[in-house]
């Protein structure tokens, strides 16, 4: 999972899906997610997956990155499915296809929509403390990831993390220990900044959106049609 790369794809991509309004993409993704989960048979799950791939293909070249991300839940679903492969291979197949479709929906959404826009939507339904922590965690991640990369580079320049797995894991532990100590200092700095800026129990994240365009309606209509068809097939 490379959050930096995902953020770059979402922020700098120029595709029809990037142009769509975040709320339209979130609504369409929710409908496609529901359709993928509602599919009960391998053929229905396959049809839903095809519809999701069509949706994701609007992100053009980024489809391959989203597909690669979607393979991760497939791995986990595969573990779940392994237990059932002998007793119910069709169910196992359905589970794996569903995991791919839902993973692709999430991956497409996150690689075409900046995190901040999605967090703004999430913050409408979560307590202020949780949504503030979400925003700040994301920001902190980028500060800490640079530090971690510098430390790992330093370790490599000094001959690597060690020969055996044991040595490597111990080195990683110490590297993370350094990052944790620095993160404690960073927490203190963030606290002071928040006090200076007059933090008032909530970070404002609302944004003015332009009026919806035909593309936004098209996305939602497409996703709702897919969901309707899957539900009708049940």
């Amino acid at each position: 999972m490379d959050v930096q790369f995902i953020d770059e794809l979402a922020a700098n991509g120029r595709t029809p899906l990037h142009d769509a309004l975040p709320w339209a993409k979130i609504a369409a993704s929710a409908a496609l997610l529901a359709a993928s989960i509602a599919a009960r048979t391998p053929s229905a799950a396959g049809a839903a997956a095809a519809a999701v791939i069509l949706f994701a293909s609007a992100s053009r070249g980024q489809l391959r990155h989203a597909t690669a991300m979607a393979l991760y839940p497939v791995f986990f679903a595969g573990l779940f499915a392994l237990g059932w492969i002998r007793s119910s291979p069709l169910y196992a197949l359905t589970v794996v296809i569903r995991a791919f479709s839902t993973g692709l929906v999430a991956a497409t959404l996150i690689t075409t929509t900046p995190f901040v826009d999605i967090f703004a939507a999430i913050s409408r339904i979560t307590p202020a403390l949780v949504s503030d922590a979400l925003f700040m965690a994301y920001r902190s991640f980028f500060v800490l990831v640079n530090e971690l990369q510098d430390l790992l580079r330093a370790v490599r320049l000094r001959g690597g993390a060690g020969r055996s797995l044991m040595e490597q894991l111990r080195t990683y532990g110490q590297v993370l220990g350094v990052v944790i100590l620095h993160s404690a200092d960073m927490t203190e700095r963030m606290y002071r900044v928040m006090i200076v800026r007059g933090y008032s129990q909530r970070i404002q994240s609302a944004r003015e959106w332009p009026p919806p365009r035909p593309l936004d309606y098209l996305l939602i209509a497409y996703a709702m049609t897919v969901l309707g068809l899957v539900l009708a097939l049940r």
Binding site: V3, S36, R98, A106, M136, L169, Y172, L176, M194
Partner: protein, 252 residues
């Protein structure tokens, strides 16, 4: 992969809703516990710990498919209230990047939140029992992950996601459709009973196979996580022992 991220499409709706409901309840409890604290101090702490968990997941562990979680360490540093909220934040971000399902954020948070709480509890109990912080942290990690994996398996078993149950329901529906009305009644009941026993046997077999895979793959993950968390704890205990102070008065 010291614990499993449950993907979408496996868990039935009532359990998804129950997971979200219970997580919401526990978040309310955590918020209540943090009510008296300075929010400007609490938010950055939770944010930094969440970022650290995400960061650790990106570390290149040279064993196929494994990544660190640091949930237990988060519990040791932050305690259960801040730690549980951090677990929710991490699971929300993970779900958006296709690591664990969006609909099962609640259940995944309960599992990783349990690791956080157990980490805090075990660290508090074991810190003085072991001479070295490494041993206390490593043992806490293994026990916490073993329990959370068992809970995850319990969720899988309890939610009847096992296809045997689904098939069983399916069999009933098919039987109801295809059975002859009156005179074949006994035959249908007998067939139902045989199907029932057969399906139950298959359920147990499938679950056992799944549990074998999870425990054997998980054990490697627990060992990796334990070694790293132990090393971190040892390092922090030397440099900033106050960060891992297990005294109950320090945190909620």
């Amino acid at each position: 992969m010291s614990h499993l991220h449950i993907p979408d499409g496996l868990i039935p709706l009532p359990w998804i809703l129950a997971g979200i409901g219970l997580t919401a309840l526990l978040i309310c409890v955590a918020l209540r516990a943090l009510k008296g604290r300075d929010r400007a101090r609490v938010v950055p702490r939770i944010a930094t710990l969440s970022a650290l968990m995400l960061l650790a997941m990106g570390l290149p562990i040279p064993v196929l498919g494994y990544h660190l979680n640091l949930t237990v360490l988060t519990g040791m540093i932050a305690g259960p209230a801040e730690g549980f909220i951090a677990a929710l934040v991490v699971n929300l971000i993970l779900a958006l990047t296709a690591h664990g399902g969006i609909t099962v954020v609640g259940l995944n948070t309960l599992v990783s939140g349990l690791e956080v709480c157990l980490g805090w509890l075990l660290w508090r109990s074991l810190r003085r029992a072991f001479k070295r912080p490494f041993a206390a942290a490593a043992v806490s990690t293994v026990i916490a992950l073993l329990i959370s994996t068992t809970v995850m398996l319990g969720i899988v078993a309890g939610t009847a996601v096992n296809p045997g149950f689904a098939l069983h329901r399916h069999n009933h529906a098919e039987l109801a459709e295809h059975a002859e009305p009156a005179d074949d009644h006994e035959h249908v009941e007998l067939k139902e009973s045989t199907d029932h026993e057969h399906a139950a046997g298959r359920d147990r077999g499938s679950l056992r196979a799944f549990a074998t895979i999870v425990y054997s793959a998980g054990a490697v993950g627990w060992a990796i996580e334990a070694l790293v968390v132990g090393s971190i704890a040892e390092f922090i205990a030397k440099s900033r022992p106050d960060m891992l102070d297990p005294s109950p008065a320090r945190r909620v």
